[in-house]
Symmetry: C2
Amino acid sequence: MPKKTSYKSDIEIAQEAAMLPISHIAGLLGIDEEDWEPYGRYKAKLSLNLFQKLETKQEGRVVLVTSINPTPAGEGKSTVTVGLGQAFNRIGKQAVVALREPSLGPSMGIKGGAAGGGYSQVMPMEEINLHFTGDIHAITTANNALAALIDNHIHQGNTLHIDPRKVVWKRVLDMNDRALRQIVVGLGGPLQGVPREDGFDITVASEIMAIFCLSTSVKDLKNRLAKMVIAYDYSDRPVTAGDLGAEGALTLLLKDALMPNLVQTLENTPAIIHGGPFANIAHGCNSIIATKLASKLGEIVVTESGFGADLGAEKFLNIKARYGSIKPSAVVVVATVRALKMHGGLAKDQLADVNMDALKKGMPNLEKHLHTLKQFGVPAVVAINRFVNDDQQEVDFILQWCSENGVKAAEANVWLNGGSGGEELARTVLHVMETADNTYKPLYELNLPLEDKIRTICQNVYGADDVQFSPKALKQLSQFTSLGWGMLPVCMAKTQYSLSDDPKKLGRPEKFTIAIRELKASIGAGFIVALTGDVMTMPGLPKRPAAMDMDVTDDGKAAGLF
Amino acid sequence: MPKKTSYKSDIEIAQEAAMLPISHIAGLLGIDEEDWEPYGRYKAKLSLNLFQKLETKQEGRVVLVTSINPTPAGEGKSTVTVGLGQAFNRIGKQAVVALREPSLGPSMGIKGGAAGGGYSQVMPMEEINLHFTGDIHAITTANNALAALIDNHIHQGNTLHIDPRKVVWKRVLDMNDRALRQIVVGLGGPLQGVPREDGFDITVASEIMAIFCLSTSVKDLKNRLAKMVIAYDYSDRPVTAGDLGAEGALTLLLKDALMPNLVQTLENTPAIIHGGPFANIAHGCNSIIATKLASKLGEIVVTESGFGADLGAEKFLNIKARYGSIKPSAVVVVATVRALKMHGGLAKDQLADVNMDALKKGMPNLEKHLHTLKQFGVPAVVAINRFVNDDQQEVDFILQWCSENGVKAAEANVWLNGGSGGEELARTVLHVMETADNTYKPLYELNLPLEDKIRTICQNVYGADDVQFSPKALKQLSQFTSLGWGMLPVCMAKTQYSLSDDPKKLGRPEKFTIAIRELKASIGAGFIVALTGDVMTMPGLPKRPAAMDMDVTDDGKAAGLF
C-alpha cells in the first residue's frame, strides 16, 4: 500500500466512513426481515432458508479475482475485489462482494488487517479484523472439541484401538504461535491422559475450516465432518470422527457459524464475508454457501481466492467450483508494476525508480497465469492495481503487452478513488463476460489417478518438467488409492511466492521439478493434500509483533490495526 | 432436576417458549436504541455509556443467591435465581437477573447446559450454552495471544531475561481436555521456539476471566491487564504483561466483550449474563459491570455466585463487593431436601424415601453457611428449592428449623411453576430487605497480613481449627509480601463439596485443619490465590461425554444440550 503522510490510513478512512444500517443493506438485496439476524448494527447473519426461497431465481455471474505470485511489494487482491464490486454498482449492476474472513493470528503478527485498503474496504473493518461474528472461534472450538474427544477416548479404554502414535488430528488456535508447532501432551501420569507427540496448527489451516467452506448445507456439513480421518488404528485402518460419534456435537458447534455474514463496503456495496481457509494447506476460498447465496442475491458476485493463480485460482477452479457447481464467468488477474518488477529481479528497496527492463523481465509471471486460465477455458482480464507512485510509462507498458497478447486489461485506481477508480475495469470485465468464449471445465477428471492429477497441476499450472514423489508419498499414493480415496481432487500445498516449490525462484521459472514430500487425507473436505517443501501450518510472530501497536484509545476506539 | 416422562425437558420447554424481541426487553428497562446492539434477535450487548447516562439514578437492591455445599443431588441455584427474578416481576418489582456465562467445556462433558431449569430458564438457552455472544472466545484469544507473545519474546532474544522455567502464564481453552494439563512446548529445534514445560487451563479459570469480571471500565481493564504477572526473570523479579507491552492488544481483543449481554427469562424478565470465572481458582461471580448496570436498570438485581456460600458468597462479599462498591441487601441460601439428606450421610440412590434422620443430620451444613453470612452482617433467607418428588414432611421440617433458629425461609417451586412458584420467596426476601438490619462489611481489612486473611476465612467461614502452610506457601507469603502484594484480598481455591479441604467430609465437619499448598499471584485480578488440596483448573471428559448426545436435527434445531 502507498503510505505517504498526505494520504489517510486505512483505519482513518474506515472510522470516518458513513455506514448504512445493515437492515438497509439487506433491504437492497431484497432479503426479508425473517431471513437475516443482526450482529451489532452493521453485521448480519443470513438464513440458509434463502436458498429455498430463491430456488427459482437465476444465478448471477461469478467473477473470480486472483493475482500473479505475491511479493513483498503487495498486490492488493482484496482491494481490487472490493473496488471492482463498488465499480459494478456504480455502472448499474447489482454486485455483491464475497470475501474470506481474516484470520486473527497473522493480524497480530505482521499484516495488520485484511479487509481491503484505502477507499476499497469492507466495513466495519475493526470488527471484521478482530472477532467478527465468531465463525473462526466456532471452528477452533469444534476442532479442539474433537481433539479432546480423541484423547479422552484413548484414555478411557480406547475401544477403537487408536494408535496414539498415529493420531493425525491436530489441535488449532487462531494465533501465530510457533511454540505450539511441536509439543508433547498427556504428561503427568495416568490421571492426565496418554502421552503422545502432538502439535497445533492455525485454525485457518484446519480441515474443519475447509469443510466449512465446501459444505452446501448443514446436512452436507455433518456428513463431511463424520468422514474426517482423525487417526489410524493398530492395524493401520483409518478411524474417523464418525467412528467416534462426534459429528453431531461438531455440527451443533458450527451450525450458527454456517450462516453467511453480510456487511458492506465503504460505498455501501453489499459484501458477504464467510470462511477463510489458508490457500497453501487448504483450498483458500471463501465458503461455497456464501458464493452461491451471493450469486442468488446479486447480478454479479466478485469473489477472490488466496495467493496467486497457481494456488487459489487453481483450487477455486478444480475444487470449489466443482463441489459447488459454480461456473465462473471471468477471472481477473491482479498485477502491479511493483510486483512485476520484483518478479523481474529487483529488491523491495529498488522499486521507486522507473525500470522498464525489470518490468519486462517480470512479465512472464503474469503470462504463465494467463496461460493457465486459458487451459481452464475461462476468460481472463488483467487488472493493473495502481499505486499512487506508479509511473504511467510502466503502466502503459503492461497495457500494451496485454493488447499485443490478445488479453483484455484495465487499470484499477480503487485504493485511491474507490469504485470510480474501477469503472473501466468493471466495463472491461462486463464486456468480456458478454462476448468471450467460456468453455470452463476443471483441469482434470476425478477418475484420473491421484498421481496423474498431481502431475497435471505441476506441469500445466506450475510449468514443471517433472514431479518427484518421496518414498513416503509413493507409499501413501498406493495406500490412499486402496482405501478408495483415489477419486478425490488434489489440494496442492506449495509456497505462494514462486510457481515452483522454491520460494526464491520468482518470475517464470523453467526446468524445475516439483518434489512431493508427503500426502495428507482430508476426506471430510474431500481432497488429498499434496505437500511440497516446508509448508507452514502454524506461523510464528516476528521480532516486533503488530500486536505491540494495538490499543484502545481513551474514547474507546480501536487503534493500531494496520 | 426431577426427570419423569410426564415432565418436559429443559430444552423442550425452552424451544416452546415465546421470546419477545430483545428490543422489547431493552425498552422495558428504558434503554435507548443507541445504547444497545443486537446479537441475533434475542440477545443484545449494552453500551458502557449507560453508566454515564444513569449516573444520577439510584441503584437498585442487590440480592445474592448462594447455596449449601453442592452435592450430586443438585441444588438448582441458577434455577432459583431466575425464578426469584421472575417472581419479583410478578409482584410488581422491576427485577433484573444477573448470571454468569456458562463455560462450554463442562457442557460437553457432564453438565449439559447451565441456564437454569424447568420453567425458570434464561433464553435463548441453546445459544447461551454454546457460543453466546463470543465473550469467552474473546477471553481465550486474549489469554493465548499473551502466551504467544511471551514465547515469542523468549525466542526473539529475551531482553526481559524471562526464565523459561518460571513462566507462570498458562494457555487456555474453553474445553475439558485433560491431555493438555501438562505438556512440553517449543520442541523441534531452534526454529520452533524455546522448549519448556507448560499446560492449558480451562478459560474460566484464567486470570483474564477474573479481571474481566472485576473491572469497572475499559481503562480499569487495561490497567489490570498490564499488572498481570506472567513470569519471573533470572533474578526472580516478576515480569508483567505491561513489561511486554501487551495490554493494548489484549484490551482491544476484549473491548467489545466487556459490554454486558442482555437476554430474557422464560417469563420475559430481563437477564444480564456476563462473565463466568470458576469459583474454585477464581472468584466465581459474574462481572461487576453487569451487576452494577443491572442495579442501575432495575429496582432489584438477583445475582448468584458459584458453588456454596463458603466459596462463591465469601468471594462475592470479600472481593467482588469490595472492588465494585456493591452493598448486597440480602443473601438467599438455596437448600434442597435431597442435598441436605446427602450431607446427612445418604448416597444418591437413597434419596427417594423420606428419611428425617438423615435430613436432621444434614442441617448443620446449612446452619454453618447462615452463621457465616451473619458474620458479614448481611441478612439471609433460606430458599427450599422444591423437587417434584420431595415429601412435604421433610420440607416442613426445614421450615420449622429455620423458624426456630430465627431465620426467614420460604419454599421455591420455580422449576415446576416458574415465577409464580417463587412469589412467597420474593415476598420474604422483600420483607427481610425492608426490615432486617444490614451491617454488611467484608470479613477482613485489607491491611491484615495475607496469612491472617487466610486464617480468617478458614476459621470463620469453613470452621477450621487451624491452618497449615507448606514450606513453599510460607516462602511465597514472605516473597509476595515483600513485593508489596500483601494488601490484596485472598481468593481461596478449595473443593466445593466440603466446608473442609477434603471433598468427602460432608455436613459440617469439625476439628480439621486446612492445608495451604501453594499461593498464586493474580495481581491483575487483584487477589492472591491460596490453593488447598488439588484444585482442578483443567477438567477432563467422562467415559461417555455429553457431547455424544449433541446433534442438530434435520429441521436445524439443537438437540442433546441437556
